[in-house]
Symmetry: C5
């Protein structure tokens, strides 16, 4: 049974990443892991209104113990490629095999799936530069929140700080509020990304309008494909949050008010992404027009110079011919005229003036 | 806890403005203010069918007093960056912390959110040149309307005048009618903006069709991005007004008839914006075609001139060669012909005529 | 209180016309009129199955009289800018002030609004060349139909003729049937407009394909913006007619069958408009391709001529150099060769042949 | 009363045909006919499970007779322009005047309209080359199917053959099955049309990619507008068949199974049309790119030739100047050098080499 | 009765393939076969939780026998062109004639059709390079799954292996689970195809941005049309799976959970295809811009060279004229100046410098 997990394949750029997937025909829930994968770090935070504990977990059995003692525990796993750890975790929280498959095969769309025992949520966090996204899998069940990330590094430091502080609402709330806090942090972490992209777009706009140069082609293309990738990652969150808002088993009404806020932010982000994509598309056509403009300028210079000097050169060539004026009065008598040379210069001036006049009257070069 | 309020960040152009947002992961309702922000001016207008009072408020406690004495009070705050004032106001009107967060983090989409105690409305007013938008936050509750603006200067002078006049319906109506009057003023203030844009588009059309010059590229691009920004700002009002029309707690049926009118105007504005965007897109492609046309003209001139004079110059060059006619009867005997020069001129005329004929017959230059 | 009625503002071309609107913040129903507006002509047609009367109305009180005596009266007002007339009419038929505001501020979208006393319908009639649209306001109530037009001239002559004729269904029907007949006439009057546009598009197609010249740019742009304007005007009729079909108070089931037919026609017109817009867009890109083709042709001529004659000219120039063959056997001995000149001509022929051969083999100019 | 029937107007190409329509304002059901129209051929096929009859009808009263004697009769009329025939038919089958108007004013969209006495169906058959469509009007009522075509020639020969054969299901079914059979034949007759278009598109693709020549512009444009016309004709069949599938009065459940199949085919045809339109659009942009490529090639040749030979020609011209070396040692002493000529040739070779080297290093011509 | 089965017609490229269809008007369920078609190989796999059998079937009656003895049998037929085999199969499983028609006329869209006796599913498997699709027809009924493929070769080897293995869920499940397993294998087999396309797109992106050459036009066009074809093939699976999810007769709730997973994958594939199409479209416009850039570069070289050397050549030509200085002091006295030649060279240097200065100041060539 062949598996093509995300960690094994050549990494693709975000906008074209097909994500990980099982070999077609494989039984659902099949999990194959990289035997060399490092054991992920597992961090447990458990809290009650009055107290909290936060520590790295080595023996997974500790989770069972703590789970019985605190109203809310949050287990965060920093990697999904280690088979033994994942199997144990799946067993402890009794996760559905289809959900675990989705956790391992990163590259899922954001979604919310209710299972008998828990609620399974997939979200995508923005990461890196140029911005790509990383899968975040969340399981919410009675008294626990389990989060699994593709790799170490996340956007949850502020949430952890809020738990430690203790005065805030999060400490006295159920797991659904923690879930909201995590999702909110994920959604809001797109804002700085959009801000950076907006800055790049403004730079590009200025360059297109002020001094279009050839590196713009690839810069505009790159920002367009980044936006295509982000749109694909963010889009499904809208539907996912909508599903979550209607879930009444794991999400209480008090928390739904907050989730509505995250939903609003998601739509705002999508609006902004769409505006940015439109601007980026416009930029390419604006750039093409600017290029055409520049080409026109260049061609005008060439045409003016050639139109004036080629005929002049012809006249000069004419009187450079070697016909023998001595054998015939018809052979270039101008050469021996008293005012021959001034006549030739005058002829040239007349030709040049005629061309310039024509050009001017027709207005070709305005 | 880091906050990135609108007032602190480098101001972005309207079409790319991501608005203000909390640092990802911050607790909802967190408010951080600019310690240097000036105290906003607060204006209270209270009225009954028979009387009205209008004044600047210094001590916010006055609001509580007046609220008990008039059927309707309207408190308008000209700035959202001053922490103390905002906290007091939130406390007096018992505003939900999520709503207050949205008030401070300007850049929200237009929306209507019912809370237990009041109705929270976000609208966006057009401001400045090129037209951008400013957030207007409205809270409607029993006997009061509270409006908070990003900065001084609004579109409500005509509404204030109507309250002062006293004979009009507004004085004898509930807060919902005042809310309508304010929203109506906001929506209608897009018409002059669209008018100005229509004028600019007409100018651009004329310039594209009559005398396409290179400044058009940036002018068309600028108007396109302004339209992208406006579309994003106005679009959500449609849904917001629709939600408002279905609200039966704070909006009475008599007022809904008027709101339907504002809804109509919103759709009309969106229709106009869409038409303008289409025209602006067409303009760019029309401009590209006009450019190509001009390039063709220029190239034709160059080609005609080069096609005629380069061969002529060659003939002239031919008879400028210095082969010695004396060493051989084969060496340029033409030079010593009696009609050598006229022959050469005739040859040139023939070549030129041949080229012109070819060009004419093939119709390249029509 | 400032009003910006349609009649006062600089008239805009149809595709960009924002229509008339109240100054933002003005009280709803505010009406300001041009004091110099001429009194509009008012025509009353009243009929029963057996008889009819048709005349110009001078004293508006006559309307009240006739209304009591006939089952159906149709009052048509040819202008909306005269304050006194409009106020009287509004009073006689007890029109809602919001509806009257919409009558005066021409530029409304097509719509159907039920009020307590009557049904208010806005439709847009095609007018002029290039085709723009004019607002038609219709009020239907018990026993009457009131129509108000922007200016004299309409598409209802055939309807009037049907009333006069007397044998047709219209004479024995309620006001709803007259309303249908008027709307049907409005909708159907788009067909000749579309026909004319189709003819123009065919002409443009022929010109683009047969002889693309530079006036096409503006012609295509003009037809595109006309289509944008028409699409905006016609589009809302679809929804308006749909609303009308579901109205059961003023529209009887027998008449709904006929209105379904008008609805069909509206969709057909929209289909046609969309096809025409697509064709018009295709035309622009086809034209750009044709232009590029032409440019290619021109460039090929230039390139062939230059590629052949510039090298030839160089050879001629070579033997026009004045190096002195007498000071050295190395100095241009060709000049004194017996076959020097034929050699030079042969060299030129060889160069020309080589270039032509290269060009031919590479197939650049096929 | 003016009528503009299809038969009278200048025939338009399919993609822009607005169809026939009544003069705006004309009473619904008004029919005006071409007095010179030939009497259409009318063919009656009547059948029962055991027997069938098929013949041309001269006296329309025969229809009434046959209708009483057979379970199913099918009357097919090959033309809609003859007034007397149409009036009689309308009277025999008691057709609604609005439906008859739609029959005469060919150019209707495909639709299904239930009337009290019968079901009125409009479909459009593909016809001719380039493919246009012809209106087919079908009335289905108790015991009869009436079809009216724009002109002789249809796609029903196979259906007639099935009736004659007698062993097939059609002979023992109700009129709804015959209706299905006819609609199915109409829908399926788009497949060969699409096949032919696919072949043309493949040819165009090959030509664009292998040898882009200028006739492609018009060929691509023509196929695009044909596809626009077909899309407009086929699109409404989808909704029409959907309406038909939900009709329970004239369509029995057994027949609905078959209609579902036709509905499937319609969607398949629409899918194919959309793919073809996309390919055709892509072709135009591919062609533009190919043109630009070709232009680039041509320009490179010109530039290489000009860049090398214009400087060479200048050097040759330099030494063709007639400054007198005898009056001054500064005046062109090269002319009298021993190696003057070889020096000049060397200079030229150096200049050419320099230019070629520059061109090569900058990679302009790769 | 003419049939145009898939096997008989000239094979078309996938993106334009109209599929097979009956001659218009043919009776539904008509089947015509290629008399030369080879007998397809038929493979039967029957299994129970404890045992399984797998073998090639020669005598179709064996199917009846096995069907009675095993809880689930899977009959796979590798070809649909052999009349006798297909008729027998249709008879054994009592297939509806419309379904059989769809099996034979390959080219159907993916769909799910419930019949009285069974569920008929059409899916499309990706096949070949460039990727096209092949029709897979599936019938699910009590105790059996019947699959018919266009030609030998499929994506089901992993499924067969799972059945043979025996420990997996598939052996103890009903036919609906096998159906899921097959559909899942079909859907998932699009992932490697998308992966390959993503790789091609990345290559194209690199080539466009790094070294745009003319073969890109056809490569981009080819990948675009492949994507058009795939989108058309995959799109309908979404709706088909949705229908399947709501079917409660043949699909049990346990299996629906798994199908939801396949549905998710379908949407992910569609998302990816849409992203890829967008990137491919962007590539073409990026390529056009890159081409224009290159043309600009080339033109600048030409213009600089021509602008400098044509005037220089003129000056040289000027002093190559043969006016006789001896007949007049006005005739080219420069020729006899002491510093004539240096003066001419200086003049040339001045002209060149002037042009270069102009060019530089105007910034044409930056």
């Amino acid at each position: 049974m062949k598996l093509i997990p995300g960690s094994k394949r050549k990494k693709r750029r975000a906008h074209l990443d097909t994500g990980a997937y099982l070999a077609p025909g494989t039984a659902p829930g099949t999990l194959t892991f990289d035997p060399d994968a490092a054991r992920p770090s597992i961090r447990l935070i458990a809290y009650s209104p009055d107290d909290f504990v936060e520590r790295e977990i080595e023996d997974l059995e500790e989770i069972r113990v703590e789970r019985g003692e605190w109203p809310v525990i949050w287990v965060n796993v920093d990697g999904v490629g280690h088979g033994e750890v994942l199997s144990q975790i799946a067993e402890i929280f009794q996760l559905h095999m289809l959900a675990v498959e989705d956790v391992v095969n990163v590259g899922q769309r954001a979604k919310v799936e209710p299972y008998d025992e828990d609620l399974f949520i997939v979200a995508r966090m923005p990461m890196g530069e140029p911005p790509a996204t990383e899968q975040l899998s969340i399981f919410v069940g009675p008294g626990y929140v389990l989060t699994l990330q593709e790799k170490p590094g996340d956007v949850f430091d502020a949430v952890r700080e809020r738990i430690r502080t203790g005065r805030l609402r999060i400490r006295s709330s159920d797991p659904d509020y923690l879930t909201y806090a995590l999702l909110d942090a994920v959604i809001d972490s797109y804002f700085p990304v959009l801000d950076a992209l907006a800055e790049q777009l403004e730079d590009l706009e200025e360059r297109v309008l002020d001094s279009p140069d050839k590196s713009l082609v690839s810069d505009i293309h790159r920002i367009r494909r980044t936006l295509v990738g982000l749109r694909r990652a963010v889009g499904p969150h809208r539907e996912a949050l909508n599903t979550l808002l209607r879930d009444t088993r794991y999400i209480r009404a008090e928390t739904a008010v907050f989730l509505r806020d995250s939903y609003d932010h998601t739509i705002r982000i999508l609006d902004l992404l769409d505006s940015q994509r439109e601007i980026a598309s416009d930029l390419m056509s604006t750039y093409l027009s600017a290029l055409s403009n520049k080409m026109n300028e260049v061609m005008k210079v060439l045409t003016i110079v050639a139109t004036i000097f080629i005929p002049l050169g012809f006249v000069a060539g004419l009187y450079g011919m070697n016909f023998n004026p001595e054998v015939s009065p018809w052979n270039m008598p101008e050469l021996n005229w008293f005012f021959g040379y001034p006549f030739a210069l005058g002829l040239m001036a007349a030709v040049a003036a005629a061309f310039l006049g024509l050009v001017w009257r027709k207005g070709w070069f305005r």
